[in-house]
């Protein structure tokens, strides 16, 4: 694991104490930060991520860290895709220029770099050493071709592009862009820090807000269900999808991040992020994540197209069957209790629908987890 390229603080400067989002950012930057490019949608993460003059985005002891930029709610996915295309263009340019310098650099150096696999961290580490050696070699050389190659040599190491934002972006305002980018087939990682509400602007309901929750614009309890973005993405067949909750299963979270990053195609990670807008004791945020999973509100799953290519079932249900009633999870959060207090009858009715939805979705997921591979779409790109 690479040294941290995220602040050592448990939560970043400017984030709420006990924020449920920042651990995911810390995790992915620790894993991939030295070669990451981040497109950050407007929202909490763009505020505490760019709370200038301070910023939690930092470099490791080798001086490497993520390149970060913030875009708008409505175009962040496309913005991130553009960063991917730019990185790919730089890589193609670098490879061409490397080939052009083959006589001066030698076959061994050029072939080692051009033919190197770059899927896993061990391979990437070796490639980084090769690129560093190349740059050292270029420092001993002169000429226009050398200068051209030096300007893009870092792109001979695979860039890890992360498109990051909250549910207000991914489910609502930027949803068309997210869908467009997922359908592009390009190698990007979309991380949705899902607080199930517009957190930064003060708790407005999003399409991720659960049925029965009280939020601004849903003061009488939200009467539509939470959108299952995971299932939407799975429908494409070639999108890696994971739903994670670090407080419930940190190992599954880690596995999902690594698989998503290694997958040569679009990845979508939906990360449960407890929030002040849930009305909980923020020191118990991870416990509440555990309850969310235990109640079936947030079933952990992964959809890995790589498994489909190997004729395995790509749908993995990672959490156990719900073990506590949805009521027990909801009773601990003010966003649900407010309705129980103000309109118990409606709260009971919506809770009942919510429990039915949990049961129904679990049955569907369980059935999917037991299917044969042939019942899932194959990746037509390969």
């Amino acid at each position: 694991m690479a040294p941290s390229s995220w602040s050592r603080c448990s939560s970043s400067p400017g984030a709420c104490s006990g924020c449920g989002e920042t651990p995911y950012l810390k995790l992915f930057t620790q894993l991939f930060g030295g070669r990451a490019t981040v497109a950050n949608a407007t929202g909490c993460s763009s505020i505490y991520g760019g709370n200038l003059p301070t910023t939690p985005w930092s470099s490791n002891k080798y001086g490497r860290g993520p390149a970060w930029s913030n875009s708008l709610f409505e175009d962040n996915a496309e913005f991130g895709l553009g960063l991917r295309l730019a990185a790919d263009l730089h890589t193609a340019t670098a490879r061409r220029r490397l080939e052009a310098l083959r006589p001066e650099l030698g076959d061994a150096t050029v072939d080692a770099i051009l033919q190197a696999p770059q899927q896993y961290e061990s391979e990437l580490s070796q490639q980084r050493a090769r690129v560093d050696a190349l740059k050292a070699l270029l420092d001993t050389m002169t000429g226009p071709l050398v200068e051209d190659l030096r300007s893009v040599a870092d792109h001979l190491l695979r860039r890890s592009v992360w498109i990051v934002g909250g549910d207000g972006w991914a489910y609502d305002i930027g949803s068309a862009g997210v869908d467009h980018v997922l359908a592009s087939g390009r190698n990007v990682n979309i991380l949705v820090l899902d607080t199930e509400v517009y957190s930064n602007t003060g708790g407005q309901a999003s399409k991720s807000t659960p049925l029965g929750a009280v939020a601004k614009f849903a003061a009488s309890g939200k009467v539509t269900g939470k959108k299952d973005v995971a299932m939407q993405a799975i429908a494409y067949g070639n999108v890696y999808v994971a739903r994670v909750a670090m407080g419930a299963d940190p190992q599954q979270t880690l596995t999902a991040f690594r698989e998503a990053e290694a997958y040569d195609g679009p990845s979508l990670i939906l990360a449960y992020s407890h929030c002040i807008a849930h009305g909980i004791d923020m020191s118990k945020g991870l416990d509440q994540q555990y309850a969310a999973v235990n109640s079936g509100h947030w079933p952990l799953m992964r959809y890995n197209p790589v498994r489909r290519m190997a004729d395995h079932n790509p749908f993995l249900l990672d959490s156990p069957r719900p073990r506590i009633p949805l009521r027990d999870y909801r009773a601990k959060e003010l966003r649900f209790r407010m309705l129980m207090n103000s309109d118990p009858e409606t709260a009971e009715r919506l809770l009942s629908y919510g429990q039915e939805a949990v049961n129904r979705r679990w049955a569907e997921y369980e059935e999917m987890a037991m299917r044969g591979a042939e019942r899932f779409a194959a990746d037509a790109r390969k």
Binding site: C16, T201, G202, G203, M340, N341, S342, P344
Partner: protein, 337 residues
């Protein structure tokens, strides 16, 4: 056969009342109690601590991050301050339960101090409660606190609740006072329309493996009826207030005993928890069968037959309290217990 009974100025169809307990936590539970045939239902107790702590907790969670970031001044929609957690839930339960049953619904407040919760009694009245039962559950742990202060606290609470409502107020008492008769008189003077005798204090228990203190929650047994029945017999003819007996009802014979001692109504939770809400029908059947066998056609006709008579010597109370009174009663009517 007439079972109808006056309690707190309310006319009940019979003297059996479901006391505050777990069955009345839902509307359907309250309905099952009423359907079982009881004359009134006392809702489960809303605790002072629940009122204050839940409201404080939710208010804290709601406001903890308000105005802490430039982008938003709050994180929850504005709400009516009356939507104060368990308070609103309890009020809703009172409202829905009172509408759902055809017998009086008595709301129960459990507290031990004067505070805003006292004024909540008014909200209970507005929600449809026919009466309020104040369960003053106070365990004095302060060694410097005198008995007089404890008694005054009870009187003050009753006065405050009475000022807040126009519906009847009953007081559920502890049996642990130096002079229960005197305190009872003071509470009636302060406005109590009735006394519920007695509250069972759920003292913690101890387990030895593992060594631990555990909550002592138990259902009552017949033996628990001795103290309340004795005091009801002693006070029946000396107080101008309703008397409710509670604790230790196992079958209809306990109902009869309490009525003979002078109880206006007999409350039970333990037997209903043990046998189901429908058990009240069996208790009432047993009561009526006994009345038939003994030639009583109304509850009023035999209520208080074994109570201490009005003209019993007051010296007896001063000399040895209720034990002497019982001896006196025994010499006239035979054993009360």
């Amino acid at each position: 056969m007439f079972l109808d009974t006056d309690y707190l100025g309310l006319r009940l169809r019979n003297p059996l009342v479901a006391s505050a307990g777990p069955i009345s936590q839902t509307v359907s539970g309250v309905q099952s109690l009423a359907d079982g045939g009881v004359g009134a239902v006392v809702l489960y107790s809303l605790f002072e601590e629940q009122l204050t702590q839940a409201a404080e907790r939710d208010a804290f969670l709601e406001e903890a991050y308000a105005d802490s970031f430039a982008e938003a001044t709050s994180y929850f929609p504005a709400r009516d301050t009356a939507d104060a957690g368990v308070a609103a839930s309890y009020l809703s339960l009172v409202e829905r339960s009172a509408a759902a049953i055809d017998v009086p619904l008595i709301a129960s407040l459990n507290g031990s101090s004067l505070g805003s919760w006292v004024h909540f009694a008014r909200s209970l009245q507005d929600a449809g409660a026919a009466a309020i039962e104040c369960n003053i559950y106070f365990v004095p742990g302060d060694l410097t606190l005198s008995g007089a202060v404890v008694e005054q606290r009870h009187v003050d609470i009753v006065s405050a609740v009475k000022q807040a409502v126009s519906i009847p107020v009953a007081v559920k008492l502890s049996p642990h006072f130096s002079s229960i008769g005197h305190l009872a008189s003071r509470l009636v003077e302060a406005g109590a329309d009735g006394l519920v005798m007695f509250n069972r204090f759920l003292q913690p228990d101890v387990t030895i493996e593992p060594i631990a203190v555990v909550p002592g929650v138990t259902l009552s047994h017949r033996v628990d009826s001795l103290v309340p029945r004795t005091w009801i017999a002693a006070l029946r003819n000396h107080l101008n207030a309703s008397l409710a007996a509670t604790s230790g009802v196992e079958d209809y014979t306990d109902v009869v005993r309490y009525l003979l001692a002078g109880a206006d109504v007999v409350m039970t939770t333990s037997s209903l928890v043990r046998h189901g809400a429908g058990y009240s029908a069996k208790l009432l059947d047993g009561l009526q069968a006994w009345m038939t066998r003994t030639g009583h056609d109304s509850v009023d006709g035999f209520r208080g037959m074994l109570a201490v008579p009005t003209d019993a010597e007051s010296n007896a109370y001063q000399r040895a309290g209720y034990v002497a009174a019982l001896e006196k009663a025994k010499s006239i009517y035979g054993s009360l217990v």
